[in-house]
Symmetry: C4
Subunit: 211 residues, 4 copies
Amino acid sequence: MSAPITAGELDAAGAALAAESARFAGLGWMRGTSGNLSVTLRTDPLRLAVTTSGRDKGELTPQDVVVVDAAGAAVPDQPRPGRRPSAEAGLHARVAARAGAGAVVHVHVIAPVLAAARWPGGIVLRDLEMLKGLGRSAHDDEVTVPVVPNGQDMTWLGDRFDEVFDPATPALVVAGHGVYVWGDDLAQARHRTECLEWLTSFALAADQHTS
Amino acid sequence: MSAPITAGELDAAGAALAAESARFAGLGWMRGTSGNLSVTLRTDPLRLAVTTSGRDKGELTPQDVVVVDAAGAAVPDQPRPGRRPSAEAGLHARVAARAGAGAVVHVHVIAPVLAAARWPGGIVLRDLEMLKGLGRSAHDDEVTVPVVPNGQDMTWLGDRFDEVFDPATPALVVAGHGVYVWGDDLAQARHRTECLEWLTSFALAADQHTS
Amino acid sequence: MSAPITAGELDAAGAALAAESARFAGLGWMRGTSGNLSVTLRTDPLRLAVTTSGRDKGELTPQDVVVVDAAGAAVPDQPRPGRRPSAEAGLHARVAARAGAGAVVHVHVIAPVLAAARWPGGIVLRDLEMLKGLGRSAHDDEVTVPVVPNGQDMTWLGDRFDEVFDPATPALVVAGHGVYVWGDDLAQARHRTECLEWLTSFALAADQHTS
Amino acid sequence: MSAPITAGELDAAGAALAAESARFAGLGWMRGTSGNLSVTLRTDPLRLAVTTSGRDKGELTPQDVVVVDAAGAAVPDQPRPGRRPSAEAGLHARVAARAGAGAVVHVHVIAPVLAAARWPGGIVLRDLEMLKGLGRSAHDDEVTVPVVPNGQDMTWLGDRFDEVFDPATPALVVAGHGVYVWGDDLAQARHRTECLEWLTSFALAADQHTS
């Protein structure tokens, strides 16, 4: 059994999540109050700090964070109980557990969602230097970013994720919805999200220019 | 009969409207001196605080606000009489009265206007998570954002709005012009405007990619 | 004969031009060191304050300004002689003289130049509210933004401008190059430039979506 | 034999490189941790200050710089040894040596890479004022921006660069990857990068509108 999560630890996670959320909001990838970010605080049992639901993601404070368990439910034993996690916290937890991620980004960036509409069976990428940003190779490698249908039941959606999960590809596109991208920490998850946006923007535009 | 509007109350509304206008201007959605924003101050009789006409919307001050009645006309009994409301204040008032809105946003964001040119009978959206940002469902729901022709007579335009108004859809596109989006307060109206922009950008691009 | 231009007067013009240039540079409309802005200081004889050549337009200071005459040549009798005006100052002066403009904006904003490539005989716009931002009507009005071929001889280019000049349309597109937009002052010239960008972006996208 | 590189000299180069990197990152041209910038410190033997590998390019400090030789390898005799240069430093050095450049910019800006996918034999540009920003003429001049295939071996890639190098064209596009652009100093290299982005964006869009 791991040590309890302290207020200072949660504040630090909240500050990092608020800063990253503001950065994504500035990019226009968290329109409305969409999207949420998480970091893994404990792995046994799993505990994530996830941004709270329904707030403008450009205006979060370090207090706009809640601790959830492996099912995405708020745990009672936390420094600031009573805040409501996003329903999507359940998928964050599934991703963190399965991929061993230290941070998960869920944003409504538009290019990957358009690419998923264009290629609903998975977005195939190859021969692009930016693939290195996803931990893959720029040559002689074919990367398929998996696409799953949208859903509101996180257990069902987590099962879809499990079916398509590939340890070598740190991203998932939910059709008509947005992306989940993960990494060892928030910086890596953000860098990978930026690379996925570049890659899918490129793939869509190249498809237009050559068709 | 409701209480008179105080200078402090109008200043607070003006500060909120100026801050929101600057944010929209930063997004490029209030080019030139276009667009205007309002908040509802009283409902019986109806009184709105609306941004003044002809100013750069990125440079408004809390004083650039005027109180209008249900016809969009400046009322004589206000803390700073003499400022000229936009002609479009009349449609703000119609929207606020009919929809019971606390805030109305009118901006010249380009994607919904392009979508209205593409689908002049109404912009049909379905199976998109961002629809939740408009208060609708991401699944098994078909949302038609109504489109009305442009006009300079706000009574005529208000009648067109009345014909297409659906309480479940907090947005109206005026063809060749811009959007009206509303909500309980400025934050909700802004979030819905952002979601409408995302949804119409997505619909246009998806239509291009698949046609 | 008008009064000499004082250092204070030129400093004020330089500060306004630097601030506006930085704003346009932030929009990405003055890439490289492209573009230049001017204000009219005297009309008899004509004297313009124009930004100096070859500087990053996001980093101008109030000193990066030079006084030119009706031919766009630096005048000897000025507070800070010796700075080199852009060759394009000659066209600024032609526009200011013919249109009676208080300010002229020349920027390499891409949408109008693309529209000129699409419609080299002139960009026809109608039934768009944003036309009011150019001083025209949103209805029952057809606005043709004139297009002239590019050239390096400002006398020749000024003659082309003279041939297409319409007092009702405060804008000119130079094919493969950029735009000149004017108004009573820098704010109006900027607002009109923003509206022209919106209008031409709209026209191009609408043409794509319906063709 | 030239004088040793002092800590003060390297700090100054690092500060300039960090500031330019942050500017490019703000434009979205250094997504993930992609890209790198260099300045030439000595020519005999060749010494470049190049940004270090694997950092967020919007968050570099003046210390995130390393001195490399003509092969792109870190030299032992430098103020802060031990930092790892990007593998791409090898191509920076090849470009600096061959072109006599004072600064080289390598960024993953998307438009030139898309243009290279559209025109893999070289991107032909003509009759565009922005060509002056590359040191060419706006008229009666045909500029071919060379395209080389991507590769991870900088010696091989440098040989490809040697094959296509034209002293009159200060830019190279690496297919599926990004651009190298150079100039006398960082400001000129940046201005040319901005112009290349404008030119390739224009060429792609014009090709779409007319095809």
